[in-house]
Symmetry: none
Subunit: 144 residues, 4 copies
Amino acid sequence: MLTISRLSREEAEVLVEGAVAKSNAMNIPMCIAVCDESGHLIAFDRMDGGKVSSISIAIDKAFTGAVARKGTHVYNQLCQPGQPTFGIHVTNGGHFSIIGGGLPVTVDGTIVGGVGISSGTAIEDQEVAEAAVAYFYEKTGYSA
Amino acid sequence: MLTISRLSREEAEVLVEGAVAKSNAMNIPMCIAVCDESGHLIAFDRMDGGKVSSISIAIDKAFTGAVARKGTHVYNQLCQPGQPTFGIHVTNGGHFSIIGGGLPVTVDGTIVGGVGISSGTAIEDQEVAEAAVAYFYEKTGYSA
Amino acid sequence: MLTISRLSREEAEVLVEGAVAKSNAMNIPMCIAVCDESGHLIAFDRMDGGKVSSISIAIDKAFTGAVARKGTHVYNQLCQPGQPTFGIHVTNGGHFSIIGGGLPVTVDGTIVGGVGISSGTAIEDQEVAEAAVAYFYEKTGYSA
Amino acid sequence: MLTISRLSREEAEVLVEGAVAKSNAMNIPMCIAVCDESGHLIAFDRMDGGKVSSISIAIDKAFTGAVARKGTHVYNQLCQPGQPTFGIHVTNGGHFSIIGGGLPVTVDGTIVGGVGISSGTAIEDQEVAEAAVAYFYEKTGYSA
């Protein structure tokens, strides 16, 4: 039997809280998704003004960060034309995101979930995702 | 020009809060979704123990409640074999829910969003959705 | 942090082994799927003569057994016309199976995965799924 | 009447066995899929630690190797922007893989199935697929 560590809903809310704080500081209303280590959604928030098209993008970013185990910005580079991973963006029913703003969330070296942000530029989305994860460690006391 | 009334994120959270309270009282961890009057997701919470298969069902119920403008339990009856609406459950890419637990949220007679609950029986899901809406009116002071 | 128990690949293979033995005894070549507690595929085998149309059905049954937490034959009854859960068969992108042959696999009362069988009648599929689970407990020493 | 040569389940297992051995040697847990000459899944194994996002990718690679009749790494080159085959990665409902790691399996010049590997880099996936095919010839005595 395998033993798996997974974000609780309360911990997922900490990630949302961190993302909201950063989004407010940047004055960009975001869509924020948190999923578990298997890529299934735990929490989602669309801030007032968050984009409708970003609902599924944020969810896909959280999914990808958790189960493909890299930041979605990393896959953006790996998936450029000419690269051997070009094409991965259309896999998993189109839910594999290669746009920055999705990150795995690790605790003691193990992925326990993923966070995905969308509504700004890819750079801004990534910045908010990183702030959410930093806030998560600060608030919970976990180490990456 | 049309002027649309729409749940804010803060108001969506009130619905989530009401649903969580009722779920806890019933001791059934639920998936809870709130969408706006256009059927687009605002907030989602999967309580610890909520079913993975209920993530999309809760979202579909909130969507249906808001945009089809009836409780999903009403469509369950309308969609029975022999009824003229039979078949509506496969429309909208399969996102039209006919399982109780999805409700429109109205303010002064206007639909401003929808709430969808899933993980229990259809009856239990509907009970939680109704409690969420009741809590919403109580907490916000709005009338249906 | 939540702590989750999940079938290992070796344990998934025991379920496949048990299903193959029963299928051979019944002389019906089957499609056999085993997924983890989150519904994600671990192992799949199509025996020589297993139906092509049963590949996805077996996978969907394993998914449903694990994440919807009931045998798919139970949902078959709950989803009959006139029942409040009628319509659940079209949810989850059509992957929610209501045809007997999918079962949750529990260890000490916790769902750790699911098994799905297809190619015979629903009754035969269920019989093989049950035999697979019985074999699993016998071979591993786990209790349900 | 056509007579088709097709991998048996037992032969498919040889490919899985070869892939597992190579994956273990490389210390990368993989998702491994084997399909028949028609692109339909025969066997699938997710090793402990194989990526969830690689389940469908491995299956798509096996499918593509078998029915499009070239290694998926070959299509990666053919599908680059500027090439006349650019765009093939979105065909077949997104199941046409252009990421290395999918290979046709031939016997006496005829394609009898396909193998698909995913969870490492495209280069690593291809290496494991090639090792699986080499092991298959060695173990079965067939010639390509």
